[in-house]
Symmetry: D2
Subunit: 152 residues, 4 copies
């Protein structure tokens, strides 16, 4: 079932909208993060483990782990909005369950409830080894608000 969900792609227009917005996030490119899946109500973001994203023990910093989780949830919400809408994070809560180690992290944002004004997402971050082994390293929950897209 996991595989089917991952294969379900959002429409080309939605995927373009998400990628265009992601490309405007200076933080994501500065961290080295990239979007790896855009499905309806579900977005994945990968972050290679590099010295630039570590905490004092060499694991990925909770702040970097949270940053990709926050963006994954935000874009998951955006996939269900019309093109006149943008999304802002209201708040989120995240538990760091295990040292964030591996070849890279994968954050998965999934819409739990999409309302007219507010959207609630579940957030997961997995540590992925070079051989594909995965471990849940963080789990969270996020509230987002729909706002009008700024006009160019």
């Amino acid at each position: 079932m996991e595989d089917r969900t991952q294969q379900e792609q959002a429409s080309p227009a939605v995927r373009k909208r998400v990628r265009d917005s992601f490309d405007l996030q200076g933080l994501m490119s500065h961290l080295g993060a990239r979007i790896t899946h855009i499905g309806p109500g579900r977005v994945h973001i990968a972050l290679p483990a590099r010295p630039e994203v570590t905490q004092q023990r060499g694991y990925v910093h909770a702040g970097a782990t949270s940053a990709i989780a926050d963006s994954a949830g935000g874009y998951a919400a955006l996939t269900l909005f019309d093109e006149e809408s943008d999304v802002l994070t209201v708040e989120y809560k995240i538990n760091l369950l295990a040292p964030a180690a591996g070849d890279h992290l994968e954050a998965i944002g999934t819409v739990l409830k999409s309302g007219r004004t507010l959207t609630v997402c579940g957030l997961e971050v997995h540590g992925v080894q070079a051989d594909g082994t995965r471990k849940l390293v963080a789990n969270g929950q996020q509230t987002l608000i729909r706002v009008d897209r700024p006009t160019a």
Copy 2:
């Protein structure tokens, strides 16, 4: 009262311990963050607003805002530990109250409860203009756990 608190410094040994650990956090230097105050149970971290830390609208990304808040809280907890102890974030929750704009952000972590195993911190992030005007842009709460310091 705010000023007196800000002027109260932790001991030189504690300040050194905090700075040494901070210098090991690759993420903090990659973001351009620096520690600006180390008091007993209270740490400030400043983050200049740069294109490298933005979200899609040019404000500071919630992930960067959270990252300095998380580190400020973690080091606030560490100031109250003995030198054999290190600290890990268990979880945190943060509300983004206003667009994170300004010359720089200032995160303030303050210990609310310091227990034998767990510490709870309050987190604040202010947007600071070039003229010194301040606005609260994020507010949060964090749980941390004391762990043994890894031996060199």
Copy 3:
């Protein structure tokens, strides 16, 4: 300063609006809770410690502690709304800092940010002994949404 804030009362119309709504909350009277202060952006609720509100060790249950904190925050938000508005809790997070013991608990909800749609409150719960000694037993943060008041 604490005392001045506690003495600052909301207008009679606002206090009536809050009390009328509180009286409709079956849970609050079933728990034995009562409102003890209604100021602008700040509401206090007291809960006597009774066997009806305990957990397995005889302390006040986290659920009862949270219930009065949630109501205190909700009514703190309501004091700043016009009379056409009602309030609903979007989410909250609470840390249980110490066993909730004492003669009674006092929950304090304080508005941190009052926006057009969303309000964010800080939540505190104190355990109060018969001699007036107080201890912070829980600390939290809450997001609320303004909605139209149902017409009678």
Copy 4:
């Protein structure tokens, strides 16, 4: 899969330990809550919708919704502990996704990560109609700590 999980029962000794502790929670019986399932790492609690548990609009109060979610998560954690251990809630966060209506609510606590000291649970609360129709009304995440069981 949902059904198989629900049918998997914890051992009789664990079920007895959970029920004995639940029976000591004055709040649960005062609210009218009862445990409906005890599986390994998963506990269900049902709460009939009654005037005694409502907020100002007649829905179940966020505080009552949270109380059964908190207990469900706490007992889910307890099912994985040895008999010398008790559990305390460190913190939780809960989103109220929809008006909590129905014949009764069902809270489900599920262990996400069981560590030596800390356990993290996912919390769900469903509104259940008399005809069995279910709707997710709240979703949360909880951190718990293992403590020694008090000696009698």
